[in-house]
């Protein structure tokens, strides 16, 4: 591969540069050529860059991109506020750029790297497109408590879950039309609860105190508690759905 090992330091080598640059404020922008904090031109061919991982014209793949987090892979800042259509556009562009066909005549090294990046991009897309998984991932990046260590939920929530479980058990025992109707509306309610928790989570992330701020652990815990609650709600929603199709 023609890559010079001592090529000058490049912004693309620093994941942080792409992850959180202040120029990323507005996400509404559509032209992919202006993906935030990514240099506008390829180091190799000097053509305008359309994705942070691969050059659209000379197909140079950037090895440093292996170290990027899921947000940086799409040239997005770390935030809950993602425009899902914009994310999908970026995903399609990356998929095209990294497609094996594009590397048919290239060296094995480039081909392998493109394959690797492509797998990362697929992972990243499946995580970021789902609000719940996006929040879990963001919490991990921010160094918040993980579910295995911190099982708490908002006050009173578990008692409520006990009641909902009882309702579901009762309905399962005698699943007539009125029970079905009741379960369908319970499921809608559960979805609404989950959305409300996720909205609170997004708000908490948006005003997350900086590293070192004494209030930060409290906010991260609050996020954890709400995501734990979402996990319960998701499980119940699945239970009801399965019961209703049977």
């Amino acid at each position: 591969m023609a890559e010079s090992p001592n090529r000058p330091a490049h912004p693309l080598d620093a994941p942080e540069a792409a992850a959180g640059g202040s120029a990323c404020g507005s996400l509404g922008h559509t032209p992919a050529a202006s993906i935030c904090a990514v240099p506008s031109r390829c180091v190799r061919c000097d053509e305008p860059l359309t994705t942070p991982l691969v050059c659209g014209s000379c197909r140079t793949v950037f090895p440093a991109a292996n170290e990027y987090d899921h947000f940086a892979r799409f040239g997005l800042p770390r935030t809950m506020e993602i425009d899902e259509r914009d994310l999908e556009r970026r995903y399609l562009m990356l998929s095209r750029g990294l497609h094996p066909d594009q590397f048919a005549v290239r060296g094995t090294e480039d081909k392998l790297l493109a394959e690797q990046l492509s797998a990362h991009v697929n992972d990243a897309f499946s995580v970021l497109k789902d609000r719940f998984r996006r929040a879990e991932y963001l919490l991990e990046l921010e160094g918040g408590p993980q579910r295995a260590q911190e099982k708490r939920t908002p006050a009173g929530f578990l008692a409520e879950m006990l009641e909902v479980n009882e309702q579901i058990e009762e309905a399962r025992g005698a699943l007539d039309d009125s029970a079905r109707k009741q379960m369908a509306s319970l499921r809608a309610e559960i979805t609404k609860r989950r959305d409300a928790f996720l909205a609170e989570v997004a708000q908490a992330f948006a005003s997350l105190p900086a590293q070192g701020d004494l209030r930060r652990p409290g906010v991260l815990l609050k996020i954890r508690e709400r995501l734990n609650a979402c996990a319960y709600l998701e499980g119940l929603s699945v239970q009801i759905r399965e019961m209703l199709v049977s």
Binding site: R147, A148, K151, T153, L158, A159, M161, L162, N165, E166, E169, N228, A229, A231, Y232, G235, L236
Partner: protein, 136 residues
Amino acid sequence: MAYSDKVIDHYNNPRNVGSFDKGSEDVGTGIVGAPECGDVMKLQIKVNDEGVITDARFKTFGCGSAIASSSLATEWVKGKTVDEALKIKNVDIVNELALPPIKIHCSVLAEDAIKAAVEDYQKKKSSSPAGSGSAS
């Protein structure tokens, strides 16, 4: 994965299923859960003036191991003082029920439920006016 006979027995014939009035002075209620599997467990103890647990109830929504762990826990706490009940460890439950490694968290949940129930009882005791002097 096969459940042990003891798990199956507790699952098919759970002991002490049900509820006490959680507002009652002599009742301690613990509700715990495991978000990773969605299990919810409620364990209640009824305590007499000598601080001895005279009865217990549970209600668990979860897998067979979680149900068996909480069923066993209610059997074990009966007749113990609240302090003795706190000494029940999840490994005891694991050993008794022969739980496989991936079900150990179910026994942890049962231990947490006992602790939460005792804590709730003690909180009620310490905040009740003109306590009955049962603490010592």
